[in-house]
């Protein structure tokens, strides 16, 4: 019998078998492989088989049966292989996804991975996905992020770009997060806003899906009894998938996915795969969200720890200051009273001692020394007082006027005149009133020698940005800038205790309150002091 198929030949040449093409050259010389791989599907072979069946050979029906069974099983195996290949790809993808999700505690990264996975061709290959997050505090399911093209042109461009760059899921997600996340959010801003639904709206299809904790495939959405037509119109597709994200029985969010461009049918297989995918995504999202909260709490605790440490240091400082306060208080009482008694009685005695009395010199020495010691004591007490300022809001006018009032008599005795002018509506300043008052009195009564006939001190207060400036122009006193700077250094080498610590103490007090103080000497015109007082606590 002449056979149409080449199954009976050991070796064939290209063209003998219609099913052997370029790349199948191995089969030309391998009869066994050729029969198993090509012949059973070959039309020539099938015709040979019919002829064989008609030949009344006793094996013909058996052979026909075996061949049919072989073909059936081969198809089944191919189908199974295809299924297994798909499953392998899916498992690989889920493994990659799981790895990426598990290694991230950043919510934005997790969301980028999730949405990229849904829409990537290597992933679930959906055209578009919306992510809605459950905000339990606000009681809302909020539209948060979306991914996908809005039209065919954009889709072609994006998909070609993805095809051109053979990237794995992690790289795709990273690329999305770094380059596209903000743009996608802005692109879908209008839809995302309108997707927001109260969690209590149990009739809404999204909340229904969330409550059911199972995916819902919505078909014919525009006529679906459970879908609000506005919602369907907003999405602009009649078929979409609602995928709740549930973690530890808690509603984390919802993914809406559709094929708005390709209109590829969403199969049950898609749904099952996405459902499997939704568990690690929900878990990763919740973990990232908790991590965010943990980070915030950690920052708070760190901040609180820092503040606590500062407070502890402050307490230690205050204790030290309190100790200084107690010591100085004790000095004040223990030293000043005897000094006063010695000096007072010495003065009394001096009054009644005639100038010819040889003891008068001794008494005068006692008076002078006690006076000197009282000066030293004043300076030490004032210096210790400056260590712990007590600040509050005060009126500048009240501050300046009280200082001028207190010094008026002394200034008048020395032949000085003083004047004060102020801008209207100055804000209250945050200062230690006592210390500032002391500073102003000290500046006004400075022991720097006077000069000339113009013995005037002009005080002015005005606003300077957020601060209030007190400017004191002392036109009557002359000193060089170098000398003035030296005077401003407390306990400087050339100045003895009791010789006038005043201005240096003022500078120390103001420095401790963080108040800028400037003293500029103009040999021809006097000295200008400027004190810049804060109007807010933060400026301290």
């Amino acid at each position: 019998m002449d056979w149409e198929c080449c199954w009976d030949r050991d070796v064939i040449v290209m063209g003998d078998c219609p099913n052997i093409h370029e790349g199948d050259e191995d089969l030309l010389t391998s009869k066994r492989r050729r029969i198993l791989e090509k012949c059973s599907e070959c039309e020539n072979f099938k015709r040979d088989l019919v002829r064989f069946s008609d030949s009344s050979h006793p094996l013909a029906p058996v052979f026909y049966l075996v061949h049919s069974e072989y073909q059936r099983q081969k198809t089944q195996i191919q189908s199974l292989v295809s299924f297994l290949d798909n499953k392998t790809l899916e498992i690989r993808f889920m493994h990659e996804l799981g790895f990426v999700l598990q290694s991230s505690v950043d919510l934005e990264e997790v969301l980028s991975v999730a949405l990229t996975a849904i829409t990537a061709g290597k992933g679930f290959g959906m055209n578009r996905a919306f992510l809605l997050l459950a905000d339990r505090e606000a009681g809302l399911l909020k539209g948060y992020l979306a991914i996908g093209p809005r039209n065919l042109e954009e889709a072609s461009h994006t998909w070609n770009e993805i095809l051109g760059n053979d990237m794995d899921l992690k790289t795709l997600a990273l690329n999305f997060r770094q380059n596209k996340l903000s743009a996608e959010r802005a692109k879908f801003h209008d839809i995302l806003e309108q997707l927001t639904v109260p969690l209590s709206s149990h009739e809404h299809i999204t909340i229904k899906a969330l409550d059911s904790k199972h995916p819902m495939l919505i078909e014919d959405a525009f006529h679906h009894p459970d879908v609000n037509p506005n919602f369907a119109a907003l999405l602009g597709v009649d078929t979409f998938l609602l995928m709740p994200l549930i973690s530890r029985n808690r509603r984390v969010g919802l993914i809406i996915a559709d094929n708005c461009i390709t209109h590829r049918r969403i199969t049950d297989e898609d749904m099952h795969s996405l459902e499997t995918f939704s568990f690690p995504v929900a878990f990763a999202m919740e973990r990232a969200s908790l991590y965010d909260k943990l980070q915030i709490e950690l920052n708070r605790v760190t901040e609180a720890g820092k503040k606590l440490k500062e407070q502890q240091e402050l307490i230690v400082r205050m204790e030290n200051m309190a100790l200084v306060g107690r010591i100085t208080s004790s000095i004040a009482h223990s030293v000043r009273n005897p000094l006063m008694i010695i000096g007072g009685f010495a003065r009394s005695m001096l009054k009644n001692t005639p100038s010819s009395d040889p003891k008068r010199d001794f008494i005068e020495s006692i008076v002078a020394e006690t006076h000197q010691l009282e000066g030293v004591l004043d300076e030490i007490l004032n210096y210790s007082d400056s260590l712990y300022p007590t600040r509050d809001f005060w009126d500048v006018g009240q501050l300046v006027e009280s200082a001028l009032r207190d010094t008026a008599e002394v200034l008048m005795t020395r032949g000085y005149a003083s004047g004060y002018s102020s801008e209207n509506d100055l804000p209250a300043v945050y200062i230690d009133f006592k210390q500032l008052s002391y500073c102003l009195r000290t500046i006004l009564q400075s022991d720097i020698n006077g000069m000339g006939d113009d013995r005037t001190i002009a005080v002015r207060s005005y606003r300077d940005g957020e601060a209030v400036v007190i400017r004191i122009e002392d036109r009557s006193r002359s000193v060089s800038q170098a000398e003035l700077d030296h005077i401003l250094v407390p306990f400087s080498e050339t100045r003895d205790l009791g010789a006038g610590l005043g201005l240096a103490l003022c500078k120390t007090m103001l420095d401790k309150q963080g108040i800028p103080f400037e003293a500029l000497a103009f040999p021809e015109t006097g000295i200008v002091y400027t004190i810049k007082l804060p109007t807010h606590k933060e400026e301290q």
């Binding site: 006063m340 000096g343 007072g344 006076h371």
Partner: protein
């Protein structure tokens, strides 16, 4: 002759004030604590009181508050070893404030000033 009440816990200071202020022409009565001062205030009237702030375990500020309430027509001058009280709210109730010194000139000026002010007020019928 103006009559002054001097309250100070230091005996020598009371003596010094008595001597010096008497020389200035004032009649001086002294007290070592609040109880003694209160007793003397009940027995007699005074034109002015000079109070120390730290009185052993008592506070001259308390006595000042009591005097402002009960003897508002009698001016009070605080005389203290502490300059810091000068700007203290509680001390603002006083008519004058002097930091203790062996040189009593400032105290004497302050007494004269406050008494003159009181006389002016009386004259004006306030």
């Amino acid at each position: 002759m103006s009559k002054l009440l001097v309250v100070d816990d230091e005996a020598n200071i009371r003596l010094l004030y008595s001597e010096e202020l008497a020389d200035e022409g004032y009649e001086v009565v002294t007290a070592a604590n609040i109880a003694e001062a209160t007793e003397k205030l009940q027995l007699s009237s005074f034109d002015l009181a000079v109070l120390d702030i730290k009185l052993k375990n008592e506070s001259g500020i308390e006595l000042l508050q009591q005097l402002v309430k009960e003897r508002h027509d009698m001016p009070v001058i605080l005389c203290s070893a502490f300059s810091c009280y000068k700007d203290d709210f509680s001390a603002w109730l006083a008519d004058g404030y002097v930091v203790k010194s062996g040189d009593l000139t400032e105290l004497k000026h302050e007494i004269a000033r406050v008494l003159a002010k009181k006389a002016q007020k009386l004259k004006a019928g306030l």
